[in-house]
């Protein structure tokens, strides 16, 4: 996914460290600090859940691709074997990008074949992927 957690945290630093022109102080800067505070809260969630979500998603996509290889082509078995070089977010995301590209291609093939059971399985996986990657924004009080 993009932006990555290090991008967000570096960005928060830069947003506060770079001096703003006089006309961008006051209300605008107060709003900006509020958004940075929210980003920090969401970053904590990503630290807690982000690695586990990526490890799970990569394994789940690989399983779907491997299962489809017999019916849809050996190329999907090849993609399913892609693994991250290590547990860093960058390595997990690189593997995830390759696996997701394989999943997109498989889903297109499944739709072309009108294979409804496998289509439903892929759509169910999308729901689980979105849930695993979710960020929970707290209901903030209105001003």
């Amino acid at each position: 996914m993009t932006p990555a957690l290090p991008d967000i945290l570096r960005g928060n630093f830069l947003s506060l460290a770079i001096p703003a022109p006089p006309e961008s102080q006051g209300e605008f800067m107060a709003g900006r600090v509020g958004v940075i505070a929210l980003l920090s809260l969401l970053a904590a969630q990503e630290v807690e859940r982000g690695t586990a979500a990526r490890v799970w998603e990569n394994a789940a996509i690989a399983a779907v691709l491997a299962d489809a290889a017999e019916a849809y082509g050996v190329q999907y078995a090849g993609v399913a074997e892609i693994t991250a070089a290590d547990l860093s977010l960058a390595a997990l995301d690189a593997a995830n990008a390759a696996l997701r590209r394989g999943l997109i291609a498989l889903h297109e093939a499944v739709e072309a074949a009108r294979d409804l059971p496998r289509h439903r399985a892929i759509v169910a996986l999308y729901g689980e992927m979105a849930q695993a990657r979710r960020l929970d924004l707290p209901p903030l009080p209105a001003r």
Binding site: M1, G11, S24, V35, L38, L116, Y126, P139, P141, R143
Partner: protein, 339 residues
């Protein structure tokens, strides 16, 4: 030259009299353009009148590329029909203030809710919701023949509105995507396989009609509909689908935009527009709008990177809202019967 000095020079030329600028201050909101409030005073003007103004200047990086002339002409088109500030001047070259911009009158004393707050409208939610969807219905009914927007906006055929809109936003994802997005791509394919009925009429579509894009007086009255940067001519159900997106519900699944129940909103819109909401069309445009949202957030993520990670609004758009729309898209896809 400072922004204030640039404005003084520009307004002096525009009005043909020495003009001073005071209280220049950037304000939050309007994520696709830099937005400033300012007071302009013209020397020798009778009564010493202060012109309260808003400056909308092109940013160095933005949520989404939009056409400032279209936005300016949209304000001019709906003024008098929909509550909006009056558009004053448009400058498309960047000479005066380094980047293109336009100026409009400022409406003071209002409140604009953040979409991420809980129950921002309180006891006035019902009144605001009824007015909000009445205004949207009136916009759908507006005869745009011969109006300023027709100088710049293409007029699609009724049966092409969906395809033009989908091609545009699918193209944005194709151009700006930095990490593969299987969920939104599945939604795009579904939309292409299952087109909606033709638009009942080709209307002026606001393009970003939702909570957080209007100003109210805190007592149940809408003062202005804002942020017309995505205005275009198309199927008016598009605006309803965007307004009904769960992203804008203020954590309340029983009310759209945190104001009124969805069925009530539809009834009000139908009465004001003279049109009917076809459930099949609304379902298509609702899924479409989740795609459109994801396209906007995809562009925001790209711009966040291109701009050196310095705009936190782009960060939260490209990160939190992108993931929220993946959830919404996945839920909508799982609710569909077949292909």
């Amino acid at each position: 030259m400072s922004l204030a000095a640039g404005l003084e020079s520009y307004l002096t030329d525009l009005w043909g009299a020495p003009t001073t600028v005071a209280n220049l201050s950037r304000i939050p909101g309007g994520a696709s353009r830099e937005t400033y409030r300012l007071d302009a005073q013209v020397a020798g003007e009778t009564g010493g009148q202060t012109h309260r103004m808003i400056l909308r200047r092109d940013p160095t990086g933005s949520l989404i590329e939009t056409d400032r002339r279209l936005e300016f002409l949209a304000y001019r088109t709906v003024h008098g029909h929909v509550p909006v500030p009056q558009a004053i001047a448009l400058e498309q070259d960047g000479r005066a203030l380094e980047r293109p911009f336009f100026l409009m009158e400022r409406i003071d004393g209002g409140v604009v809710a953040s979409p991420f707050t809980f129950d921002p409208y309180g006891a006035h939610a019902q009144a605001l919701g009824e007015r909000f969807f009445t205004i949207l219905g009136k916009l759908a009914a507006l005869d745009h023949d011969g109006t300023p927007i027709r100088q710049a906006a293409e007029l699609p055929a009724a049966q092409d509105c969906w395809r033009i809109a989908l091609d545009h936003w699918a193209g944005v994802i194709e151009a700006d995507e930095q990490h593969p997005q299987p969920i939104v791509r599945a939604a795009i394919r579904h939309l292409r396989r299952n087109p909606p009925p033709p638009a009942q009429r080709v209307a002026l579509v606001h393009g970003d009609y939702r909570t957080g894009n209007f100003m109210h007086d805190g007592a149940g009255r809408i003062l202005a509909i804002l942020d017309w940067e995505m205005a275009h001519l198309g199927d008016p159900i598009e605006d309803l689908g965007w307004a009904f997106d769960p992203l804008w519900n203020h954590f309340d699944e029983t009310r759209v935009d945190g104001m009124i129940p969805r069925e009530r909103a539809i009834a009000i819109w139908e009465a004001a527009s003279g049109l009917r909401v076809d459930p099949e069309a609304l379902a298509w445009w609702s899924l479409f709008n989740a795609v459109k949202g994801q396209a906007i957030w995809t562009s925001a993520a790209k711009e966040y990177r291109a701009g050196g990670f310095t705009d936190p609004i782009l960060a939260i758009s490209g990160w939190y809202t992108a993931r929220r729309h993946d959830q919404i898209l996945a839920e909508r896809l799982s609710a569909l019967e077949g292909f």
